[in-house]
Symmetry: D2
């Protein structure tokens, strides 16, 4: 946080209650839909060639644009779909929010291991139809063991943590990668990404469902 | 909620993870200050004459303008100072967020009574230096019994409830006054206020602390 | 809220900071799994005969028992699976938390209409693979139009609202059914259920995943 | 997080919706009070001799014992009173929750400086009656410059972050002191405290307000 007290506290204001209400109230979110066909289409662009760092940035996420002050499908929930390719082993990482996975397709396991070691006793084996959880601040990594890609529906509760400036990541695993997830500090979830990486990437996706 | 599906779901978008991050991350709030002298000055304009509905809209609230998506001193906390005049009895009301009061000056009591009746056994008597709590969805009303005005420092946790579109009020007490606190539905905390009332009010206050 | 000040405030305590820490810290949730086979098995008991009020109480929900102070799959997220039978039309209801639906099987629509009227323009049509949202405090009802049952994976953010005592329901639609969701006030989500209904029900389900 | 998958997932359960409701609903918090006289009395035991590490563990905090699943004055707010002695300079530290201070007595400043350096331009000067904020994850330290002790009323939003297992501290400043605030990992806010320190301390305080 770079700041100075030199010009007073312009960002701090005393207002009457009615003025507060005017700023406090938000438009209600409209009901909405993200069609399965569009989700598949959006994921289509992610081939083995255009991923970065062999990591999990191949996903497609559903955002509701009536929301300001953070981003997600709702004010408190993020929903993403992410394919994991056969034989792929994503890197260990952790964050201070819970991850819930519904496994739509494929088979594999998630290792939840604070030492970042893939041990038999810290694996959770899953296949299509299962639900699993990786708790807050526990190091975890996904592995796809089926011949077909695994498809993960990931549910996270980070949008309101981000609104509250309370979100922290260590991605990939390693103390040197700890970051407070606020604007200006980080360009992506993964600390190995540079701003240049992000500008050069071929993954820019935006699809809206028509009917 | 007025809405239609006629033109699809323009507000619902599928994006790649990096695009999500760009929208997700918020600027960290800057450290800040609201000077006591400015708080006193801001409250100065509230005389017995310019209040509305004999109610509690005489307060001054502290907002941090680095915050978007709701309003408050912080993403999850609102802090307000409110004088209650000698002999004054504010109307019963309730809301689904907790109210914590630190009593800076004066003496009196808060009645926490779901029937909206001022009963001896549902009163909490307070004086300067005390802290009291009115829980979520419990009907409550403040009474000042001292010769000098009471000064209440009120701490509420509604900013993030409002961000989540989860805030409901019944103000004043009465089922007909139940309202979902979202934009377009309500002009103020109090259901008796009309938009005209708010436009005519003489309470518009804005002060910033210089050093 | 029934309470009295007659014996002081035994439930309010002043403690040193270290004592606070001892009560504040919670055990971290363990990683976990709910197998798809077990989810199917759990839903097996819900036939057309044993449901109550023609309503949506046929679901199976995933809970993590390391959590106290509320209930859900995680501290802030609830995940449930619910079949909707062919031709079935669930009753309109609303609540101050967002509902996100991933449609696993079947076809149908959700009407999001504050007047509780099934109108063409307030319907969201969905089929297997789609994701839809019913925002906070918007009246909504599900209809299954396919020959096979629809299977809904419902994601709600009520566990931490309940922990905060901020959860309100109007179920079924109607002002007389408004309820603050706290212990002692309500026996179920649906206001038409009585305690006797709940005791007589044949739906008691508990399954744990072995490996 | 130490855990094993060897005996299945006993802590993960599939239940019917009514069973969920039975675990979900919490008793509403009762209205309550913490008397100013009791707060003063509770703080009385903290002399210059019995503090640990020259740090800020001299405070008294207000807890509501109707709450389970975390601890605080309310489900989302903690309120503490803490004296800072003349000339005292507390150590820099940071945490992923916002701190709001109402300064009841005395004079001094808070340095909000990520480098942990007491610089003129990152100080916020305060005196009795002022309100200040130290944002999430910003390193901060308090200094009392008046001849009399300063009295700080501190408002934090960590109780629901702790309920969500999302709370992290770096106290005192230093990467080696980063800790996920969950049971078993940490005995106190301050990483320098050992379990033995805590057992030997003379600060154990518990006072309840009678009327």
């Amino acid at each position: 946080m770079q700041w100075t007290n030199k010009n007073g506290y312009d960002w701090c204001e005393l207002v009457d209650i009615d003025t507060l209400v005017g700023r406090l109230l938000q438009p209600d979110l409209r009901p909405g839909k993200w069609a399965g066909e569009d989700i598949r289409k959006a994921m289509g662009g992610f081939t083995k060639e255009n991923r970065r760092h062999d990591d999990q940035r191949r996903g497609v996420t559903l955002v509701h644009n009536d929301l300001v002050g953070s981003a997600g499908l709702s004010p408190s929930i993020s929903v993403s779909f992410q394919p994991i390719l056969p034989g792929e082993k994503l890197a260990f990482h952790r964050h201070n929010y819970v991850a819930i996975y519904y496994w739509v397709e494929g088979e594999g396991y998630t290792c939840n291991d604070d030492d970042g070691i893939d041990r038999e006793e810290t694996r959770i084996y899953w296949k299509a139809g299962d639900v699993s959880i990786s708790p807050a601040w526990v190091n975890h990594a996904h592995v796809c063991t089926s011949k077909e890609p695994a498809l993960q529906l990931a549910i996270h509760d980070f949008p309101d943590l981000c609104y509250r400036r309370a979100m922290l990541n260590e991605d990939p695993d390693g103390h040197e990668n700890l970051r407070h997830m606020v604007k200006g500090v980080v360009p992506s979830f993964n600390n190995l990404d540079t701003v240049e990486d992000l500008e050069k990437r071929s993954q820019k996706i935006s699809i809206k469902t028509r009917s």
